[in-house]
Amino acid sequence: MRAEGAASFARVWADHRRGLPGWGAALAGITLMYLAFWPMMGADMQAMLDGLPEALIRALGYDRIGTAAGYLEAVIYGLLGPVLLLVYGIGLGGRVIAGQEEDGTLELDLAAPVGRARLYWQRLAAVWTLITALVAITTLAVLVSGPLFGLGVPTVNVLAASLAMWLLVGGFTTIALAVGAATGRRGIGVAAAAGLATLAYVFRSVADAVGVDVLATLSPFAWMLASEPLVNGFDAFGAAKLGLLSVVAAPLGAWRFARRDLMV
């Protein structure tokens, strides 16, 4: 039998590459804009923080906002970066199999001489490359604007934080795709991934605010940030736990997708 190459992979790119410049510009623009505020922080910021309750400051991750690494984490890596990327990734993950199965646009692909597993893994891989491109753009924006505004966070640490963010976003995106492919329902895939991501975010915030370690242990956001990668660099254990999200979800989705009825 003749292999069909990477047609399923290429098709996801053909359908979604046009969205990349817009998302890339938004992520780079927001990063640039927030980092441009850094030189203006200082006395005003400290005055504002003095008026806030201690627990709220910790929940928002603003307790270290007076340092460059703390500021970068509070605005980009701990909030806007993952949130925007998760919106993109989870939406895309739900779309490329379950969403297209539901609206019927995947029927001819599924009836083509391509194994279901092959279609699944290629589409998942394509989604990962799209996310990778956006994480790379965000990282580049941080690396370029850091020196510009005198942030002074070492490049290795930025790369370490970006790697962790990439694994986190990829993990929840994979969950959206896998649960969608397993159930044939885009809504279930998106809800599962978005729900878990929200829970993870809340757990970390609560854990930070009131110091409940159990919640931090369970939160992928804590796996990403608790070791303070922008200060301490690469955290292998955290990265391994984040990677596990995808490593567990992806094969389960593929297994179920290959066995169930399609287009019902």
């Binding site: 003749r2 069909e4 599924l110 009825d261």
Partner: protein, 308 residues
């Protein structure tokens, strides 16, 4: 096994509590054009999706070229051209890009035929697929089903959305495929759509086969609608007793009935009175088709028990 392309035996498919296929038996021979007729919701698309391994049977089995669709996998689907009943096209690509994508899913097979077929069906390959009209989408569907010259064509309601001219072109395509030895399995909810090209026809209802016959056989069975006007009102009861006469209706001096087989007995009976005028016209196959639907409750139920 070699001369049958599609075989299903007691095929059952359930979705939760609803039973879409209820012991369907089919046999499609190699090289024939086979019409698969039934009302909407009879199980046509479900059967077709089982053949393509999109759905897995609850019970019974289906075999295409001698293997079950699941076991046949990609190698089996490489031999099939499929046109879905409700073709949805989306994504941000042109019609040409979409067709090239589908060809590359087949390892490039059919790529060379895209331009010729697009010209033949007057499809603008540069248009984005999502902006195509229903008819133009159907053209994309037809082209991708035929482009790789498959051994088996599975066409679900293929002519829907095509204007008469393109329907004609489509039928020509089916005849060409048949002439080069391909087997064609096409569904429709109207017999008229398939009777001109089909060799044999299966009628299904509620997930079971209620009738299989050649188109000529069906025509023979369809019978004639006879109308006789008498000088004096005839005795309708004696007419109804005649072999091959059904649905006798007497309206004043005019008797109408449905006649199967030779008219000899009926004519001799009519000659006992004075016939003022008469007419006999062949029935539309569509009428027979409706008969089959209606009668299934009576005759079909027994046949079904025998089948199990």
């Amino acid at each position: 096994m070699s001369d049958t392309v599609i075989v299903t035996r007691g095929l059952v498919k359930e979705y939760g509590r609803t039973r879409a296929l209820d012991g369907l038996d089919l046999e499609v021979r190699s090289g024939e054009v086979f019409g698969f007729i039934g009302p909407n919701g009879a199980g046509k698309s479900t059967t077709i999706r089982v053949l393509l391994d999109l759905l897995r049977p609850t019970a019974g089995e289906a075999r295409v070229f001698g293997v079950t669709p699941a076991a046949g996998g990609p190698a089996l689907r490489a031999r099939i051209g499929y046109l879905p009943g409700e073709l949805a096209l989306g994504g941000r690509v042109s019609a040409g890009e979409h067709l090239h994508h589908l060809a590359s899913l087949r390892g490039g097979r059919g790529r060379d035929a895209i331009d010729t077929l697009a010209e033949r069906f007057r499809l603008d390959l540069a248009r984005p697929v999502r902006a195509l009209s229903k008819g133009n989408k159907q053209k994309v569907g037809v082209i991708q089903a035929f482009m790789h010259e498959p051994d088996l064509l599975v066409l679900d309601e293929p002519t829907s959305g095509l204007d008469p001219l393109l329907q004609h072109e489509f039928m020509a395509l089916v005849r060409e495929a048949s002439a080069r030895g391909a087997t064609v399995f096409m569904s429709s909810h109207v017999l008229r759509e398939v009777e001109t090209v089909a060799d044999r026809v299966a009628v299904i209802r509620d997930g079971t086969t209620v009738d299989v016959d050649s188109v000529t056989g069906l025509r023979r069975r369809a019978g004639q609608r006879v109308s006789l006007r008498f000088a004096e009102p005839p005795d309708a009861d004696t007419a109804a007793a005649i072999e091959g006469v059904e649905q006798v209706r007497l309206d004043d001096h005019t008797l109408t009935c449905l006649l199967h087989g030779e008219p000899d007995e009926l004519l001799k009976w009519a000659a006992r009175g004075r016939v003022l005028s008469w007419s006999a016209r062949d029935r539309d196959l569509e009428d027979l088709f409706l008969d089959v639907y209606r009668n299934r409750g009576r005759n079909g139920a027994e046949a079904e028990h025998d089948a199990r």
